[in-house]
Symmetry: C2
Subunit: 274 residues, 2 copies
Amino acid sequence: MNYQQLVGEIKRKQSFLCVGLDTDLKKIPPHIREKADDPVFEFNKAIIDATLDYAIAYKPNLAFYEALGVEGLKSLEKTIQYINSRAFTIADAKRGDIGNTAEMYAHAFYNQYGFDSITLSPYMGADTVEPFLKHKDKWSIILALTSNPGADDFEMLKIDEDYLFEKILKTFSTAATSQQVMFVVGATRPQYFEIVRKHAPDNFLLVPGIGAQGGSLEEVCRYGLNSNTGLIVNSSRQIIYAGSGTDFDEKAASQAKQIQQQMKQILVEFKITG
Amino acid sequence: MNYQQLVGEIKRKQSFLCVGLDTDLKKIPPHIREKADDPVFEFNKAIIDATLDYAIAYKPNLAFYEALGVEGLKSLEKTIQYINSRAFTIADAKRGDIGNTAEMYAHAFYNQYGFDSITLSPYMGADTVEPFLKHKDKWSIILALTSNPGADDFEMLKIDEDYLFEKILKTFSTAATSQQVMFVVGATRPQYFEIVRKHAPDNFLLVPGIGAQGGSLEEVCRYGLNSNTGLIVNSSRQIIYAGSGTDFDEKAASQAKQIQQQMKQILVEFKITG
């Protein structure tokens, strides 16, 4: 899914919601965990069916699938096939490695699994991202300022006048790549969105930290929105574990719809409409 | 494998060589690629059999297995089972994510696959490493100064008097964790090993970049060795693709032996003997 298509979907659904598929076998409702052949996939399928009207993206967190070994990765493959380009897909994998290895990861996530995008850790430098950018119809989502307390340890270190995360933004946010590069910026530090937009006015930002981690949608939008929206806001646990009984999908739909309604109001307010 | 056992193996084999299992289906000798049911595992098994006398560690690079999808991860599982604690195992995965996700990765690599250690990217901060350290008999190998040219982009940025990689070393190299924490320091920048040892005198360093990437074993050892050796030096392509015919395993053994002989000489010279 390219930049224009993504913006089109946001306007059509009046939503910039991403549903995080952090699917934990222990938290799946018992009637699925105990009866389905592939409970992780069945759970994801039900969540996707319930939320597809309200969400424009899905973000499986690789850790949850890898923790189940080979079976977990089969569930992941089936989940991406089931979405089948009906929404933007994000492999939350936070990879980052030297050239020949990065090419292997790009192949794995873009071609094997068929994801639209992958999250990347920039620590090792620009040459670890370049192999991903060669895949012209695919996206790199680079960690900038994350939502966890540990972001203070290195991301917020000052180098001359800049925070380290600003150096990351400056390195990767050239106009040429706003069609292919997004940044992760956590909702738990809304006061920094103004700085982020200074360096990356056109790039989409993937925003975790709403809900369970305490971030506020309104505050993120105040400084984060741009004329093409420019935000994909993720919610994981708040939606997928909204219920734990046989009506978990209805509860998930209701939570997703509630966030989408807030987003619709914000888009109208900022005059970003279809 | 704990610190003492690792040092014991180094002294017994007179080697601190790690063989990088960057197994690429396209580079496997044709007689295995075309005939074996699981060519990646058969190749790894032959390489392990050929090099186990000379190497104390094996480091599969996750990208190469993930690029083959679910089948690749089955090959990886079988490889770790085959090593079966006869050597130290390193999951070269460069993971790094928030708490609940980090716990999932720790479970995946330590418990599901059974690795002794995993490489971690520190960008997101100390709280992303802590869940790994709770596994008391297991190791975290944290990226500090890597071997690629891109290391200049962020790792070498100056913050007050320190390079960013020094901030990483200071954060994670407390005496309490030298039994559980190693650092990645590339062989391509041997002049920085003196700085690294200032901050991390007791920690093991995992050193990539010998061979194909141009680093020198002698230069690394000059400043990198400590009284318990404190180095695990990796070689991947130079060993595993030393030959491409039916005698590829003999060629691999011969390359590994040659490096081990150099290491033995260095250990004797530095009086680190069994």
